[in-house]
């Protein structure tokens, strides 16, 4: 190695240490040990300094991959049941409102509404504009999720009540978040109001997408998240065969078929209710 070897070694070590912050805490130690071990061998192979650094830079996508997948694994189980989902949203709402109340300028903004022109008007206007925009910007696959004719009236009512509860719990967050952004981050009041309006619209769009997408991934009967996605068929052979993904309800209520793309004979997702004869398969859970 070159005379810069100690500097390169130190730089690579620091890079690995900094990158490890993206890895979840429970996996960080093992991840760092593996990369340090590998780096030891790279340094021992008399490779060029830039190759050592290039090797260490490879840790960045690796750490991001682990971080992203751990997040996915960590979030979804907590929101599996409708109660867990609503509890999570309620916690977020309480945290958002508490933060808004904790900041003096935001508190003043909300409670001085009678004097200054209420922020609620901005909020309601932004929500109204978002609702008008929604049909135009909603992705096709989410739009299909809004069609509920194929569900029984009980399932439909239960689903809409759950959607309503999610929206209700998201509203305080949608109100307080943009007010905090507008009053704390913006330099002037006018800019703060504009920022607040656009943040409300963006947040409301994101919330709408999430609410519908989350609903699509739930069993219409028990409202638990559907699991065990299984790919069926091939896109190139969809002439008379189903091509898409099948999800199953862990309680054994049914199977959801989601086509990859709409065909004339299978243009939207279908729910197949499983009767009691299938229950023995679900007694001990599914792997």
């Amino acid at each position: 190695m070159s005379r810069h070897a100690p500097i390169v070694t130190c730089a690579c070590g620091l890079l690995l240490r900094a990158t490890s912050l993206f890895v979840p805490r429970r996996e960080r130690r093992s991840w760092l040990a593996e990369w340090r071990g590998e780096l030891h061998y790279v340094l021992g192979c008399n490779v060029a300094d830039r190759d050592c650094i290039a090797f260490s830079l490879g840790a960045v996508p690796d750490a991001f991959w682990i971080g992203r997948n751990s997040l996915r694994r960590g979030w979804l189980p907590q929101l599996e049941s409708p109660a867990e989902c609503l509890a999570f949203l309620a916690t977020l709402a309480v945290a958002g409102v508490s933060l808004a109340m904790y900041l003096p300028q935001v508190r003043l903004e909300i409670f001085s509404a009678a004097y200054d022109g209420p922020p609620e008007i901005n909020f309601l206007l932004a929500l109204l504009v978002t609702c008008l925009m929604l049909p135009a910007v909603l992705p096709i696959f989410l739009r299909a999720g809004l069609r509920t004719e194929w569900l029984s009236p009980t399932m439909r009512t239960r689903g809409w009540i759950f959607v309503g509860a999610k929206i209700t719990l998201l509203l305080p967050l949608l109100f307080c978040g943009p007010v905090v952004l507008g009053r704390v981050l913006a330099a002037s009041r006018a800019f703060g109001t504009v920022l607040q309006t656009f943040a409300t619209m963006g947040g409301a769009l994101f919330a709408a997408f999430w609410v519908i997408d989350d609903q699509l991934q739930r069993c219409p009967s028990c409202l638990r998240r559907l699991t065990n996605p299984a790919r069926v068929g091939e896109r190139s052979r969809s002439f008379l065969n189903f091509s898409g993904v099948e999800y199953v309800c862990i309680e054994g209520h049914g199977v959801l078929h989601v086509p990859d793309f709409p065909t004339s004979w299978f243009n939207e997702q279908r729910w197949l209710t499983l009767d009691g004869s299938w229950q023995s398969l679900f007694q001990h859970g599914i792997p």
Partner: protein
Amino acid sequence: MTGMATEAKLSHTAALILQAVDSGCRYGFSIMEATGFPSGTVYPAMRRLERDALIVSRWERQSIADAEGRPPRKYYKVTTDGKAILAAARKRYPLLAKLMPDAQVERA
């Protein structure tokens, strides 16, 4: 599981890495040397293969590494499902075995 696993498709990169592990490259750096892929490709691909239970990893015993005066290594091995998938991948990518001749592989 094995029957279902053989139907799954691997990308060429993942298949080459799986082939390298099966050929005897047991740790990340040796897979990089054998395949020519950069570390930013090899390690995330190995995480995916491990998540899909196509390979398993185990840490080398600390005493062995201490005796040789080096840090312990994490070794990878192809699982039964991984072998089934690899067999299907070899049919799909006939040049896979030729791209990874045994001579290149360090039998660690």
